[in-house]
Symmetry: C2
Subunit: 419 residues, 2 copies
């Protein structure tokens, strides 16, 4: 099936917001093996919307719209599509009840205009909106299917995942099922090189890499008669990837991230962590405390930006700073040790480096970062040369720090260290 | 002048990236008072690109494309537009020299394919690319103007700002000039309410509000014969806004942010700051250390997530924690005092709250944050009730903390405090 996406909204044409909806929909369709040949943005203007709609319907099997389902006179997507299909809009009683109770629950009076949101093209499939007032709709004609979704990304995304995806899957005579593997420490080309022969020979399931800031996602997608059959097709591919990439794979699932993996690992094993950050300036602590439940493994962190504070708070010897400088493996080692001791934690990490834009020299250039991990029987230091702007260097350094903690805990598991 | 934007790239249709280019171009055109009626995304497919181009050129005065200027056979934007205009592509010697020296500087061999990037539609205006290999181009025909820009956002953005904007301004018989005011602590509707009569009566300059996460930008844009004349038109409007919004305006310029404002203020006055963070978990320290030069005013910060560490590192009395709890104005006050003392700084801040999703109760709900600032003769505490997810609560709390430091320094200036 071929699709076009039409995003309706003058705020998009004015550049006030970026069109994440088109990306989310495109990505889902691509996962389902469906093609998108054009995406269009059009303002809240009935004639131009009508023109865009007719063109899309003439070229594609399906048209997915976002926006224009609101309560005001400007919101015309449903009406325009109904007119195009020769349908009228009629009050949908269940949607009206949902609307009324939505306002009642919030203790707010419902403006009369909002009732318009419950008027749906006759005979359509109504898509309940669990996060807002505008229901979505699917209209099937002989030639086309029209899928109308609300504009606010939070509402659109939930409806796309919970209502549209199952609907489209039901059209494919089976399911499309994916598993995501999250990878840290290998670049896109390194992953592709290692998996080259595997990727080339796969048609179902398929294997697609997505580069993220500093890390990667590998998505295995199978088309099968049911989820169980898809899982069976995915399993041997996943095994091969795991054999090839080993512990570069840190988690499964498209919402996984390093900080959650680290917090879960630490909590499972009853371990605590203290951070001592110089160039990352609190970014590692911030990431860890993003995770609900991080209070179990993280009691405190230090941001020691000046040399003096590295001495005072972490006990880095004055001599070490004098002799080797703040950005050195020796200082990093002392910082992680000091963090562990001052924080009374099982694991300490220390990060010191030159994030730029200034402060570099030929011997210690911008992007040089020393990262150290200290545990009972472990005291490691890593030398990183990171490229990019100040923000990117800091972001990458923080990811390496989290990964170092992960590897430290996993190693301890393997080697039967006692904590 | 009316424009259409065509973004070329299969990676957009697959949802691998979001179309920030269309947003950046739309925003610039809107600032110049030019209309965008349609935006289209099309893949690297010559027929569909040709079709999209012909349609856009038939409807609009100008067409701006992004992408498809690369060295591979897939990259066909220039060729397609040249063909549409009845032009051939010829080697542009200066671009060829630039390409060759680009590769030479990087110490890399130039693949032969890359030469294609220096072949430009005959008679076009060549737009040098200071950040990559693909030059852009402007082709003027009797009916249309075609502007071709590279796909990578970093290259596109610089070319748009430095080459395309001046070109379009030159077409408007004068300049379009803006000034941005950055506002914290007032919501969009509050700003609009205060400025309602002003906004309603303005035509040149215009006044446009943009909501950002937790803050706002107000942009005053004048169309005039030169920058000086535009500045003169902007000045009285700015005065009126400043009278109305006072110190809710924290800076000027579209790239301004609270952390840079705070670091500059502290550095100018030779003051230092120490942070003590609980619910924000290092986010304030991270923001401050984002700013190059923050080492002048920020020597250390504490993340004290557990009660024990609040006592140990900041000297918060056990009794206070026992009696009032960790999330209380009393604890916040002790944290800011402790931060100032333990950090040996002029100003200390303390932040404690419930970021959620768990941990709330009717008396202390999710979103409750106490924020305290301590200086020589100042000891303040703020009670905030913030809405949103864990991330949003933390983000907002960190912005309020930065603003509290800003206000603390400004107040000291006014009241002749001695630090």
């Amino acid at each position: 099936m071929n699709f076009e996406i039409i995003s309706v909204g003058t705020e998009l044409l004015l550049g006030q917001i970026v069109n994440t909806n088109a990306q989310d929909i495109s990505r889902m369709l691509s996962e389902l093996g469906m093609n998108v040949y054009y995406t269009t943005v059009v303002g809240d203007n009935p004639n131009r919307l009508k023109e865009a709609l007719a063109l899309a319907a003439s070229r594609a099997d399906g048209v997915i719209t976002t926006g224009g389902l609101g309560p005001t006179g400007d919101d015309l997507t449903k009406e325009t599509i109904a007119e195009y299909c020769g349908l009228s809009c009629v009050m949908h009683e269940e949607s009206r009840r949902r609307l009324e109770s939505y306002f009642k629950e919030k203790g707010r009076y419902m403006p009369k205009n909002n009732l318009k949101q419950a008027e749906m093209p006759e005979g359509c499939i109504v898509l309940d909106n669990d996060n807002g007032t505008a229901p979505g709709a699917i209209v099937e004609t002989e030639k086309n299917v029209f899928i109308m979704l609300p504009g606010p990304p939070r509402e659109m995304r939930a409806m796309l995942r919970d209502k549209v995806r199952p609907y489209l899957e039901s059209k494919t005579n089976g399911v499309i099922h994916s598993r995501s593997l999250r990878i840290f420490g290998l670049g896109e080309s390194a992953v592709e090189e290692r998996l080259e022969s595997l990727m080339k020979n796969l048609t179902n399931p398929t294997l697609a890499p997505y580069a993220k800031t500093g890390e990667m996602e590998l998505r295995i997608t199978a088309s099968a008669k049911d989820v169980e059959a898809a899982e069976e097709m995915i399993a041997p591919v996943e095994d091969e990837i795991r054999k090839e990439l080993g512990d570069f794979i840190y988690a499964e699932g498209e919402n996984a991230n390093l900080q959650t993996t680290v917090v879960d690992l630490l909590n499972q094993r009853g371990l605590t962590l203290t951070t001592a950050e110089s160039c990352t300036g609190g970014l590692v602590a911030k990431k860890i405390t993003e995770v609900p439940g991080s209070s179990g493994c993280f009691h405190c962190g230090f941001v020691t930006y000046s040399n003096e504070k590295k001495e005072e708070l972490l006990g880095v010897p004055h001599d070490i700073l004098e002799t080797y400088g703040a950005v050195s493996k020796e200082t990093a080692l002392c910082m992680s040790k000091g963090a562990r001791e001052a924080g009374g934690a099982d694991i300490g990490i220390g990060i010191t480096g030159i994030a730029g834009p200034g402060g570099g020299n030929p011997e210690k250039p911008v992007g040089l970062v020393y990262l150290s991990v200290c545990a009972k029987d472990v005291h490691k230091v890593y030398r990183l040369m990171l490229s990019g702007s100040r923000d990117v260097v800091r972001e990458r350094a923080s990811l390496y720090a989290l990964d170092a903690v992960r590897r430290c805990v996993l190693d301890s598991l393997r080697d039967d260290y006692i904590w």
